[in-house]
Amino acid sequence: MNDVEEAVVRAHREEWARVVATLTRRFGDIDVAEDAAAEAFATAVERWPSDGVPPAPGAWLTTTATRKAIDRIRRESKRDDKQKEALTVYDDDPPEPLGAIDDDRLRLIFTCCHPALATEARLALTLRMVGGLTVPEIARAFLVAETTMGQRITRAKAKIKAARIPYRVPSAEDLPTRVSGVLAVLFLVFNEGYLATGPDTDPVRQDLTAEAIRLTRLIRTLLPDDGEVTGLLALMLLTEARRPARVSATGELVALDEQNRGAWDAELIAEGHRLVRERLAAGVAPGRYQILAAINAVHTSARDMRDTDWSQVLALYNQLIRLDPSPVVALNRAIAVAELDGPEVALAAIDRLEPELAGYHPFHATRADLLRRLGRGADSRAAYDRAIELADNTAETAALTRRRDQLG
């Protein structure tokens, strides 16, 4: 890639959301903004090789996109009012007074993650409008046909317009609940990248984990005092740090106890630990993401599995289960119980979860492991069989199959 191409790619990554967001504010129309931003990038691809990369690519793109939008509005005669509106606001209009935070991109994120939109639409719109991913890229990420994903995005944008979902950061009283919806979307993107589903996908999708981290960093620069935003970023960094050790050369998922800890990304771990300490120092009761980040901080502090401070992990799970008394949390807590009180106690604890988790493959995988440690080979094999049947990540299926076949 030459310098100019690289500059275009970088500008796309760094400036797409800002250009779309600024134009959405000016023209009050997410479609006009997106089309104009796409045209501006196309113009950059055409012009920058001969004219050179402008000193401020973001400003160049915003100005170009604004002109494109005005041209388009002029062409569409039925939009007389819009045209007048657009022309009157063209010159350096000061941003209108905002709620808690003054950033167009943040408004765009909250619009894309509005609770009146279905979860899958929120995911798709966020990746498209804020992340700048193309429709085919998003379709591939979520294993749906391109036309389906295109329709999903079109429908969501139509609902924003028809129902008049505001382009606005929610008021201070609504902010906490609305931020949690945004974080849930980003965590879904990350998890899909970290344990990708489907028989023909890479088991780990670094493009998605990277995008989720980038967007969460963006939210953190915009909402630096929100503990859960920081917690989620720390959680993602500490999880991402282990990625290089997570899939073996033969394409198997490597469990935490067998990972080569030397392969972990020390820089990401250091940053994650710093963020966890920052939240501890804040002295505010932590939410779900902060506790999960703290659990991951304990794991990434240990030299090996035995060295892990399991009582600290269990204490954190006890704290988490009070906030989120779900069977999945109870299952993960039982893994710490197994290390402290033995597999028999843990097995008794997870067997109680069977009615709720019968269709959840990690339940059967955990059970298989505990049964193996208790020397109950036949039961363990049956549990592995069930886990393999339910798992849909290729590397995980491979690892479960090997463990089952080692039972002898």
Partner: protein
């Protein structure tokens, strides 16, 4: 922007029947704050009649167009600047009516 705000009741699990005073009070507030356009409660779905004159002859049928356990019990039309304002009011309305509320914009 105007929104049609539908009050949805459930035949198997109906909302409580003592809501009228609270609804009247809520309506007074909607009027005072400028959101009110129109409102009305509906008679039972048993009182509905469907007319279909798309064919050669008009056909008149007893009953609602759709038989389901959930049904429309009443409507409001609100004037609100955006969906967030409408949803905030709908959240209160659901509590006041003790029923589900659907919010749908007019075209």
């Amino acid at each position: 922007m105007q929104y049609l705000v539908s009050v949805i009741d459930d035949k198997e699990n109906p909302g409580s029947t003592d809501r009228q005073p609270a609804i009247s009070e809520f309506n007074d507030r909607l009027i005072a704050e400028g959101y009110w356009v129109f409102a009305g409660g509906l008679a039972d779905t048993g009182a509905a009649t469907v007319v279909d004159n798309r064919g050669e002859r008009a056909v008149v049928t007893d009953g609602p167009f759709l038989e389901s356990k959930e049904y429309l019990a009443g409507v409001w039309v609100w004037e609100a600047p955006d969906l967030d304002v409408a949803l905030k009011l709908a959240t209160e309305a659901s509590k006041v009516c003790d029923r589900k509320i659907e919010v749908r914009p007019f075209q």
